[in-house]
Every structure is written in C-alpha cells, then in structure tokens.
C-alpha cells in the first residue's frame, strides 16, 4: 500500500472528532507515555516518541537492566564471530531525546487506574502504556525441566548469563562429545534462531577439529524456518555432524534429567555433554498478569496500530504480541514500534498518522561467509497483520552472494543498534 499526502489522516481533526478526547490535554501539561520493557520494541518506541514529539510527551522507559544484551547475534557470540561486549548496549543514548530511564522492574499494571507499579512500590501514571516485556520461558513444557535445571541445561533463549553459560559449556567440550538441542514448538522468538545456533555450535566444533562430535536436534515441529537452506549448509560444511529429528523420527520428547544429563524420546535415550533445552514460550509475566494475553499465552493486538485488543490505552509490541504473519524478531519489534510511536503521537499530540506498514528481515549465519536471509513486508488485512510480499535466499547461491549477505547482516546489526539506542 502506498501513501499519498491526500491519504494522511489529520491527527488533530481525528482526535477532535473522536468520542474520547485524550485526557492529558486537559488534565495536565504533558501527556504521559510509560514503556515497560527496553528491548527492540520498547526502547525504539520510547526513543521515537520522545525524539519526534520534541518534549510534548513525557516518556518513561521502565527496564530493570542497565545494559541490554541482544538475543539477536548472540549466536554469533557462541560461534566466536563477535565478542560478548559487542552485543551489550547502554541505554544512555536515549537520555538526549528526553527519555526518563527507570531501571527497575515493573511489578503490576492497574488498567483501571492507568498506573504501573514498580517493584519499589512507586506508581507511575500513564495516558498511554506500551507493554513490551518479551517472552517468558514455559519451563514445564519439557518434562523434567525447570528454572533450576536451566543452570545445568541452559535454554539461553533470554540473553545474558544464560548465553554466557551455554558458551562456557560449548567451549569446554571434547572431541566425540554429544550435544542435544530440544527445539521449541511454534510460536517462539526468532524462528531460525535454534538452527543458526546449531550451525554456530558446529562451527566451533569443526574449528577445534572435533570430527567425532555430533549435534542431535529433537524438534517438536515437522519443519522449521529456512529448513532447506540450513540442511544444505549443514551437509556442505559439517557433514555427518548435525542430525535433525522431527516428531515422526523421535516419536515424542519424553523428558530431560539434568542430574544424569540425559534426554529421553519415545525412540531413544541420549546421554549428552551439553543439552540446550529451548522450551515453549509465552508473553512476559506483566502482560499475562494484566490480562492482555489470550489462551495462546501471547497478546492479541489491533493490526492497524499495535494496540492491545483488550485495552485502548495500551500498545503491545514485539515478541509478546500476536503479530499475525510477522515472526517474533528484533526487526519486527523495531518495525512495530515505529508504527506504534506514530499512532501514540497522533493520539496524544495530534500528530499526523499514516496507515500502518511493517517489514522484517532475518539473517542467519551458517558458516564463515555463508549467510542466508528471509524477509517480508506486511500490512493490516482482515483483522491481522498479513504478509503481502516475502523473499528467502535460494539454495545453491554463489559464494560471493552469501559472503555479501553476511556483510549485510553485520551492517544491519550496526544499523538497528544505532536506530534503537543511539
């Protein structure tokens, strides 16, 4: 969909005509936006609203961590393609736009009172709230697994210490050791992520000359993102090292035992040196507690603007949302945040708004200079965010194209980090 000037929606006129005038214009000097969660969705919307409203909206970002470690490109850290420091970022750059940073956990949302209570007990009133808490892990979706077990069998699907634990375990392996990954069921954060991670693990093993080592992927899904590209890459770069099993092959994942480092399926029992369990996922707790989720554990949204389907004062961004055909990715969250930022400014200050449009691209590194990508553009259609065009790398692409795609991958990371945090 293209947008001409004639299609602009006059924000001021729209607000004046709306049945509910934004109270902030009447009740206090500045309308207040509170953002819960400082990931690619939350930090982007905070920056864009603060920057583009030029002080007309009070923006507070609530995020307990003082530094953000990106889940995206954490696989490249595992594979020794980039250091941990390079995926760690400060929020300080947001201050120059006037974003108020509150490094505390948000404890609860009171939708009636339109307040967010912090862990310290402080209450933040809002006129509009963005909820972008990312995912929580459903530990009990894998029998025998738990938060305590994740200290032995890391999930590493939330960035930080779990990522570092997995790296430490990977680096400690000896030739001939077995790695087992339990892949997650849909929907989950970063659809190609588990398979890029396997590629990076295989890269580390291969670089060390661990020719007898093996990685077994036990997947609850019958297929996965970029499957043809990954399988081609594994056969090319890591022959005999990676074995992927779908439910027909393993017959069902029966459970894990961290004490014995075993994984049981209907077909076999594996005793591994490294077990990476990536369980099922759900929206972050604060979104669930606020009643923003449905039976899926994620938050339905209005495709036109990323507003919660159940609360017109709340927007939900990123992995916590049900964004139709858009995958749960940093690129998606960043794209959704820009739509939401515009709509929020339209609601609170009468800024012009435009029809929503979304994009996503996900790059995956398989081996040095061998990167593939998938992407799409999306628009609201029939009540959901629908893909209107998609693309994916092709199998058998020439090496120079794959190398250039990796250059692009690194360039994208630098670009989106600048877009979010600088």
């Amino acid at each position: 969909m293209s947008t001409s000037r004639r299609q602009f929606i006059g924000g001021i006129g729209a607000i004046a005509a709306a049945s509910s005038l934004p109270r902030p214009a009447i009740a206090q000097a500045k309308p207040r936006l509170v953002v819960v969660g400082g990931g690619p969705g939350g930090a982007t919307v905070a920056k864009y609203v603060a920057r583009d409203s030029q002080g007309a909206i009070s923006v507070t970002l609530v995020e307990p961590l003082k530094q953000f470690v990106t889940c995206f490109h954490s696989n490249l850290y595992l594979g020794d393609f980039r250091p941990y420091d390079s995926i760690t970022h400060s929020y300080d750059g947001l201050k120059k736009y006037g974003v108020n940073l509150v490094h505390e956990a948000a404890a609860a949302i009171n939708r009636e009172a339109k307040t967010v209570r912090l862990a310290s007990g402080v209450t933040l009133p809002y006129d509009r709230l963005v909820v972008a808490p990312g995912i929580d892990i459903k530990f009990d979706s894998v029998p025998g697994y738990s938060e305590a077990a994740s200290e032995i069998m890391p999930h590493a699907w939330k960035p930080g210490p779990q990522t570092q634990l997995l790296k430490k375990q990977l680096d400690a392996l000896s030739d001939g050791d077995l790695i087992v990954m339990i892949a997650p069921p849909n929907p989950y954060r970063c659809p190609p992520g588990p398979y890029e991670r396997v590629s990076m693990m295989a890269h580390v093993l291969k670089a060390k000359g661990h020719t007898k080592s093996k990685i077994v992927i036990l997947d609850p899904k019958p297929n996965f993102s970029k499957q043809g590209l990954f399988v081609e890459g594994w056969e090319k770069h890591y022959p005999g090292m990676v074995e992927w099993q779908d439910p027909k092959m393993h017959g069902g994942i029966k459970g894990v035992d961290p004490k014995t480092m075993t994984v049981r399926t209907d077909l076999a029992e594996y005793k591994a040196k490294l077990v990476n369990v990536i369980p099922a996922q759900m929206a972050g707790k604060i979104a669930r507690d606020a009643g923003l989720t449905n039976d899926s554990g994620f938050c339905p949204i209005n495709a036109e603007n990323m507003k919660s389907s159940s609360d017109a004062n709340i927007y939900v961004l990123g992995d916590a949302s049900i964004a139709g055909d858009m995958p749960k990715s940093a690129f998606s969250a960043n794209s959704q945040a820009k739509v939401a930022a515009l709509m929020i400014r339209g609601e609170l200050t009468g800024a012009k708004t435009f029809p929503a449009r979304y994009t996503n691209t996900c790059w995956s590194l398989i081996e040095t200079d061998d990167t593939v990508k998938v992407g799409g553009r999306y628009e609201p259609k029939d009540g959901k965010i629908a893909a209107v065009e998609t693309f994916i790398s092709k199998t058998g692409e020439p090496a120079d194209l794959r190398k250039q795609t990796q250059v692009e991958n690194m360039g994208w990371y630098a670009g989106i980090i600048s877009d979010i945090f600088a």
């Binding site: 969909m1 293209s2 947008t3 001409s4 000037r5 864009y48 690129f331 960043n334 794209s335 820009k338 515009l342 012009k352 435009f354 449009r357 994009t359 691209t361 990508k373 992407g375 799409g376 553009r377 209107v388 065009e389 693309f391 250059v407 692009e408 991958n409 690194m410 360039g411 994208w412 630098a414 670009g415 989106i416 600048s418 877009d419 600088a422």
Partner: protein, 117 residues
C-alpha cells in the same frame, strides 16, 4: 529542497500547476516524464523503515549510507530496485511498494541530511 512557500503551493495546487510553478520560480528542472514531487515530511516518516539498516549518521558498516545523496541519484537507484534491475531482494521489496511520490519524498529527506559521523 523546495522553499516553504513552494511546498505550500505544492500541497494546494494540482500536480501540473505545481510543476509549472517550480519551473517558473527557477527551481531545478525535473526530468521529462517525472510525475512526483517529494515532500520532506512524508520522506521523514517513511525513512523510519530505512534507518533500521542504513544509519542516519551516514556511517558505513556493511550497509551503504544513503544520507546526503543527490535526489536524482536516489530516485534512479530506487527505481532500479523497483524494476528488479538491482539484485538485493530486501531493497527490491522495500522499493517495490513505494509510489513515485514516496520515492521522491525519501530522496528529498535523505538528500537534506548530512553525514554526522
């Protein structure tokens, strides 16, 4: 970049009248057959999609910078992606959905910026 007066006129008048006015004011002549005139505000809005990858600072870290380009070059390259004469599928997809007016607006916006790094 058109002056404020010219921009106001562009919004208020028909396309042909606008182009005639631009010419009358001695602005840069537009290429024959080029129908759209860029609007910086629209370009700024649309640019949020671009800056996920292309850095506003103009830094080059694997993805080419696009700030400060001559408008005509920007438009030409975007049209090459639009017609798939340039290969990158991400850019083909991005450019493919843009109208002439939107491409021209992006050209005006990015052309108005200077690298800051």
């Amino acid at each position: 970049m058109p002056s404020l007066l010219v921009k106001r006129c562009l919004v208020a008048t028909s396309l042909l009248a606008s182009l005639a006015m631009v010419a009358a004011l001695g602005m840069t002549a537009r290429a024959a057959g080029e129908a759209a005139k860029g609007d910086r505000a629209l370009g700024e809005y649309l640019s949020s999609e671009c800056v996920t990858c292309h850095q506003l600072s103009g830094q080059f870290k694997g993805i080419p910078p696009i700030v400060g380009w001559p408008e005509a070059s920007f438009i030409e390259i975007m049209k090459e992606y639009q017609h798939k004469r340039r290969a990158n599928p991400v850019m083909q997809m991005i450019a493919g959905k843009l109208s002439e007016e939107e491409i021209a607006s992006l050209a005006v916006y990015f052309g108005s910026l200077k690298p800051s790094h």
